[in-house]
């Protein structure tokens, strides 16, 4: 399990240059504006915005396509049957296969929204280091408890999945080869899960101690917590543009 969401954080592009706090507000608003889209006439606009955004971010196309695979299959499995089952107006019929208009349109809408939101999320997370993004959340007022948790989870998700893999390797090296579901096999999996929990609990105690030994949780408002509030004109303009597009999309949806 490689979490390299920010493997392209080092690139330089107009989006990379965008301050993480402004970017967070801007792109999240955009995501919601996309979620609002119900009118099919907005779909091309939405896709155009996203293509532009991704192009600006200079992220390689391969980054998008590889990450799109799993959730893409998933959503297709969820809505792929819509054209065949949903709606009255038959577009096309061959044997027992019927393609219906309402379902097809719904499919197009859902898929485009999915694509737009997914890509925007990827641009948000992929164009800067993840840690920076979390710090931006904190300086925007997200609870310190949550952001500290996010940072630690970020660190330990890879670590623990690595530990799990290694423990599973250790079971294999000692001849564990489960081919069927029985009580003992299930119990061994439960032991793996349990070990992981206990191990991480134990580790969390020592981690907390190690953090305390290095001054955690006592100096509120230390240098780390406050980041300088500078007015970054470039980022502010980028934010205004994004907000403008978002409001435009939502406004059209509400008025039309």
């Amino acid at each position: 399990m490689k979490l390299a969401i920010d493997q392209y954080a080092h690139l330089s592009s107009p989006i990379h240059r965008w301050d993480a706090r402004y970017k967070l507000i801007g792109l999240l608003t955009l995501i919601f504006a996309f979620a609002f889209v119900e009118d099919l006439r907005l779909v091309p606009v939405m896709l155009l915005v996203v293509v532009g955004l991704y192009w600006l971010s200079r992220l390689p196309l391969e980054f998008l396509t590889t990450r799109l695979q799993y959730p893409g299959i998933f959503i297709l499995a969820m809505v792929g049957i819509l054209p065949f089952l949903s709606g009255e107006t038959v577009l096309w019929r061959m044997g027992f296969l019927t393609i219906r208009q309402e379902g097809s349109l719904a499919l197009i809408l859902v898929l485009s929204r999915f694509l737009a939101i997914f890509t925007t999320g990827l641009v948000l997370c992929g164009t800067g280091s993840f840690i920076r993004l979390v710090k931006a959340m904190r300086s925007l007022g997200l609870s310190r408890i949550l952001t500290d948790m996010i940072l630690l989870v970020y660190r330990y998700l890879t670590e623990l999945s690595y530990q799990l893999t290694t423990m599973q390797h250790a079971t294999q090296l000692r001849g564990f080869q489960p081919l069927k579901l029985n009580r003992r096999n299930l119990e061994i999996y439960a032991a793996l899960a349990g070990s992981l929990l206990v191990r991480s609990y134990h580790q969390s105690q020592e981690v907390y101690q190690a953090m305390q030994l290095r001054g955690y949780g006592v100096t509120p408002g230390s240098a780390q917590a406050q980041s300088r509030v500078t007015l970054d004109t470039y980022s502010a303009i980028a934010l205004l543009i994004t907000l403008g597009v978002s409001i435009g999309l939502i406004g059209f949806e509400v008025l039309a």
Partner: protein, 259 residues
């Protein structure tokens, strides 16, 4: 310092099993790199013959653990081939080959995942069909041999660092492997245990023993041949004692023998 004890291997134990094959482990042109990173092992080739006890030395980060994990099939080389007791390591042969290998990880925590130490020791034998009662009996003996009887019913988290190491070694020895691969087995052990472990290993009827270690003196008592990894290659392949006396070579490999 006492002489390393050569030729004390119970040869009979070896002969009766695989007398036809002389080569135990053969590695040819092995190349390995971690994703998105430079090459760690480049074109490694070597052979371990039956009956050999070999040390794998090298600086921190030189790739010892990585090489060992390749040998037991936990990592897949970019290219190259590994043969274990005549079988080429590959997805289909993995399960079969692993039955003959015992491997102890550098970090003992990874090896101990059952609720108690005792259950951890019988885990392997039970997988290979040893009846539980028998496995338990053998485990009791093994744990007693490692002074762990008292903590046999504790979970890993309640052991000291050295006790964890011993428990991890016990789980591997419980399988009576033909080929034993140990990654820094003395790490965290006190001097008494280092001595005792050396004695145990010297008497163990395994066909091949491969040990990664930073403890040159200790490893020279247990092994007869030493491989040194440097810059992704095996740069030295000598008898261990000869290497230990060859100060310039050692220094050039970053292994000052006084430390």
């Amino acid at each position: 310092m006492s002489e390393p004890i050569l030729n004390e291997l119970p040869k009979s134990a070896i002969a009766d099993k695989t007398s036809a094959i002389a080569v135990g482990v053969q590695v040819s042109d092995l190349v390995f790199s971690y994703p998105h990173q430079g090459i760690i092992l480049q074109n490694i080739s070597f052979t371990l013959n039956l009956g050999e006890r070999v040390a794998l030395l090298g600086r921190t980060g030189s790739g010892k653990s990585t090489l060992m994990e390749n040998l037991v099939g936990l990592k897949r080389p970019n290219s190259g081939e590994i043969q274990i007791l005549g079988t080429t390591l590959g997805p289909e042969t993995l399960f079969q080959v692993r039955q003959q290998i015992g491997f102890a990880f550098q970090d003992p925590n990874n090896q101990l995942f059952m609720p108690t130490i005792l259950e951890d020791v019988i885990f392997g034998p039970c997988n290979y069909g040893v009846p539980e009662a028998l496995a338990r009996e053998q485990a009791d003996q093994l744990l007693a041999g490692f002074s762990l009887s008292e903590v046999a019913h504790r979970s890993v988290h309640e052991l000291s660092g050295g006790q964890k190491r011993l428990a991890a070694l016990a789980t591997v020895l419980a399988l009576n492997p033909d080929i034993l691969i140990l990654d820094e087995p003395t790490n965290g052990l006190d001097p008494w245990w280092r001595r005792h472990l050396a004695e145990i290993l010297i008497q163990l009827p395994v066909q091949i023993l491969l040990i990664a270690s930073h403890d040159l003196h200790w490893v020279s008592r247990v092994t007869q041949r030493a491989l040194v990894l440097k810059q992704g290659q095996i740069q030295v392949d000598q008898p261990t004692i000869a290497l230990l006396q060859d100060r310039p070579t050692l220094e050039s490999c970053g292994l000052p023998p006084d430390y």
